[in-house]
Symmetry: C2
Subunit: 488 residues, 2 copies
Amino acid sequence: MAASGRTAPTPIMEPNPLDPSPDNIADIFELIEKHRLLEVVARNQETPRSALLEQLQHRQNLVELRKRLRTRHPADIAHLLELLPVADRLVVWRELPVPLAAQSLVQVSDGIRAALVSDTPRAALVDMLRELDADDLRYLSPWVPSDVIDAVVASLEATDRKWVEDEEGNRADTVGRLMTRELVSVKDGNTVAECLLTLRQCASLPEHLDRIFVVDARNVLVGAIELGPLVIAAPEEAVSSVMQRHPRAFVPSDDAHDVAQAFERYDLLSAPVVDERGKLIGRVTADVVVDFIRASADQDVLALAGLRKAENLFGPVLDSARNRWPWLAVNLATAFVASRVIGAFEAEIEQLVALAALMPIVASIGGNTGNQTVALVIRGLALDQLRAGNRWHLLRKELTVSLLNGALWGAVVGLFATLVYHSAALGAVMSGAVFMNLVVAACVGVLVPLGLHALDRDPAQGASVILTFATDSMGFFLFLALASAFLM
Amino acid sequence: MAASGRTAPTPIMEPNPLDPSPDNIADIFELIEKHRLLEVVARNQETPRSALLEQLQHRQNLVELRKRLRTRHPADIAHLLELLPVADRLVVWRELPVPLAAQSLVQVSDGIRAALVSDTPRAALVDMLRELDADDLRYLSPWVPSDVIDAVVASLEATDRKWVEDEEGNRADTVGRLMTRELVSVKDGNTVAECLLTLRQCASLPEHLDRIFVVDARNVLVGAIELGPLVIAAPEEAVSSVMQRHPRAFVPSDDAHDVAQAFERYDLLSAPVVDERGKLIGRVTADVVVDFIRASADQDVLALAGLRKAENLFGPVLDSARNRWPWLAVNLATAFVASRVIGAFEAEIEQLVALAALMPIVASIGGNTGNQTVALVIRGLALDQLRAGNRWHLLRKELTVSLLNGALWGAVVGLFATLVYHSAALGAVMSGAVFMNLVVAACVGVLVPLGLHALDRDPAQGASVILTFATDSMGFFLFLALASAFLM
């Protein structure tokens, strides 16, 4: 029976249509390229005879595409949908068999999902969603028009319907959004043999089952046991004597970031979810947590750059442009203010035009060091390393670093100005301005993310724009004011 | 036997010394604060009598600290070590029992680990490392002086010694660094009952065992089966008929990022590792992948800000200052160049000093939009969404967005300049410069991360500094050159 494994020298290299290899969508990619080309050719066709030929080829190409798509993992289809431009994406989307389309819709990233839902006719969407279980439906529900969800859940059992429609328990970034109800639990009076029997009697085992939970007569969670230790325990032993007592449990309203941190810190593969009375209602598995951690990290990178949300790389231009407006507007407003700071010193600049050439250096080095501090503080907050007790230490340390760097790089900049403009006085003013602006950058770099965090905002969102505002305005002001005092 | 669970109304709320709750280090934190205070008091003590009293209190405090530390999870100790300033960290480090110190050293972040190793006497370090298994020793080996490792591995068996000393297989960011040798494998001729027997005969089960692997007579991997399905399969069935064939396997030299992506995409809890001939040699588990994903994401945030490596938030000032120098130096060099661009137009600025006040706006808005593009491209690369086939689409889209935003925000900026300086010509020059600089920002924002990636560099490292150089210099140049052409 295991012959296939034995005869092949390197079985993992065997072509396997369901093998989730990172590159098994390259062939599909090619077919779509060809499809696009054929469409362009078809559009420019003049003689009917060659048009017929083209059509034939076109159809063959689509048949081949459909055949290949059918054998792929939904995660690969989702990935493919993400990296195709809009028109090509819709070609693939239309050729997918309904169950595969439904699974891919669950896997695809938020931006693309919204686009696909709005591009799918209502009836087709209902058919698609009927393929999914209650967990997946619940997950998709925020993206799907409520009348579609209503039509789909009408055929579900009452408990499933309630689960899908539970808006309160399905809020973004909560445990309720990450959890599944699929689990196996046993009573604390059971023996190990009875637990194994319970497992065998499951109609279908939940995916990613690394451990089962132990509850008391009122369904209150009292312990957990991994499948490995369960299998090797003596069959007549009581499960309560081999289980781990009081595993770390979460409630649906808990912050998803806390769960991610617990998984990261305590190396969990799954965690139980209980209600306020401690009754077992579900679990969170590591695969969902991996997706969440990845998505939050991406969010930080985007938020730091002043983007409101993850943008669909190949989505509509207007959506993309709009996504960038809010922080662009803030940036522009702050740039106007910085410009007015310079405007206040126009007399000095007219007198010594070198000031105009040198002032951006002061602003730039301040912005750069300040952003380094911002990144460190944001990371510290994400890792929960900054508490009331040690924030003062951080500020003191960043200030010391800025004094050191300010003295060093201030001297370098001053030397440059002295050499280029043959004026030691101008060099000294430059040095002083850089030194002071680095101190400003350190303070603002620490305080802005901490302040945003204290206000319950994402500390990354906009921190960089606010920081640059401070280092630009103060950089210009410090340099021009010092020049006005000592050089005029 | 299960009485404890039944009598407690909400067992998960019970105080549990080993409960890994995020806040169970708050009390320790307080004790250390007190310790620090007592030390200050002791130093300023004058009368011998009160000094004695203080000493007593001081010693009591340390005893209490030691008692509390002993009961905590190594991950919590590691977290505590990360958020303490250097002096306090060493107090905790010295009070830890040797086995707990050893486990914490494995868990702690890289920067702190290096500091702790250099602060620990050689003999104490050897004692500590003797507490660890070969996997942990291998993981720590890059941070520990080689003579210490030699002293510790001398007492190991030959295969363990080879495993720990395997520098080639233990390179950073490879599967070899993430893998463990601990696994359970069965022969493909076995029945399900024989597999369960193999499990029961293990001296100790590996941690995080979600599935076992099936190999042929030559130890070549042919399949895998999760423990759940194994338990519910009929005992007399052949394992080869219930196993999953050809699971996705990795070799030790594979890039760790590829593994992370596979775990994320295909929802894995573990993956087999094989050698070049397909022979099973180890596995990677989801908990290690979670740590890797988190660390890489942090790395991106820091690299974008121009920091070479993760910095110890409370580490020595000189180390921190140095960590910021390389990109600071690059930033300074590019700022000098931008300054010379302005210097070339000093005659024009002398003639119309408003140019000096307005030019930073052009540079600033270019930098802001360019950084938004950089963040999107870096994220697209991290998610493997950018391939040869669609990069052209991306550039075209970003250009279209920049044309749209350039027209819109260029008009806003032009209006501002017209109103403030009562000159429509100046406003028109401003608009034109902003429009063109946004196009520059879009091109550079797409091409720089793609270029760094093509050169096999981290696309985040320095992308922002290079981008700002382009948008600053070109912003100044475009604005001043247009002004020189149309306003003079």
